[in-house]
């Protein structure tokens, strides 16, 4: 297990997750979603760099989620 901190806007939460927990897992996680109030379309950034969904989140990392821009159909 590892600790990660996730920020969305002015809100943040620190939680323990599985070692294999990825950025994609975070973006689809109901528990984080409910706690922070983000929607289905987000991007995950660490130190301002957007991360791939398949990348494992490093232990102790602070992840900033941002609302992803949609495009007009």
């Amino acid at each position: 297990m590892k600790n990660i901190t996730v920020k969305y806007g002015v809100d943040s939460i620190t939680k323990q997750v599985e070692d294999s927990f990825t950025f994609g897992d975070l973006q689809e996680n109901d528990s984080f979603q409910a706690a922070l109030g983000f929607g289905d379309r987000t991007k995950a950034l660490v130190e301002g760099i957007e991360q791939d969904r398949g990348t494992v989140i490093p232990s102790g990392a602070t992840v900033r989620l941002e609302t992803a821009a949609n495009t007009k159909a």
């Binding site: 969305y8 806007g9 002015v10 929607g39 821009a69 949609n70 007009k72």
Partner: protein, 231 residues
Amino acid sequence: MQTTEIILRDNGTLTERVIRERNLNAEESVLEALTEGMTRNLRNVFTLPDWGSVHANVGSTDAVWTVVINRIPLHARFRLSNNVLVPAFASNTDVELPLIWHAPKEVRLAFVVRTESEGDCVRVCGNWLFACDGDNRGYRLPLPNLHDDCLICTGNFAEHHATGQECVTASLEQFRKSKWNADLMRTIEKSQQFFRFQPTNDTFDTLPIAVTDWTTLCDKVSTHIMERVIL
């Protein structure tokens, strides 16, 4: 400049230390690199007569202007539902009205303009509309013509101007005169609970939002632009 020191150590050995100093002409570039992502907040940069004070968050390559507005011009189609006038953005048959929705005090509206300098002029790079709660959380209002990140689909208007103030003025004028249509529309039910009007003899009064917690009708947002909003 070079200085030479001879050091006598505790164990009796002698060591020569040569220190060479020279000034590097890199102050500005180093400073710029170190402050690349930093921005500065400037409050009350100027005032627009119809809208109020304009604040600026200034970066090294752009500026994000915030106008805290207290109303939204809702030029759209409306229909009467239980004696309450509500928007019908997707309708082609309901009455079209240029109504003004007045925000209750708990809904703080931020109209945001990002500009960049281009040669001798300044360019509008985007307009955003955020609703904020008392703790500065940002929300997307239940309106069409708003992207998920609260970027407004403004339609075309002149994007190059002489100054940042002219960019903000032109953006607000476009915001004021634009019609709201069904582009980027989600469920109309939330819009109709949020934006409600009472027809009176000669005007339309804004009615309170139909739910106790207005944020339940909105989507919470977090973006790099929202981070630069000054309320």
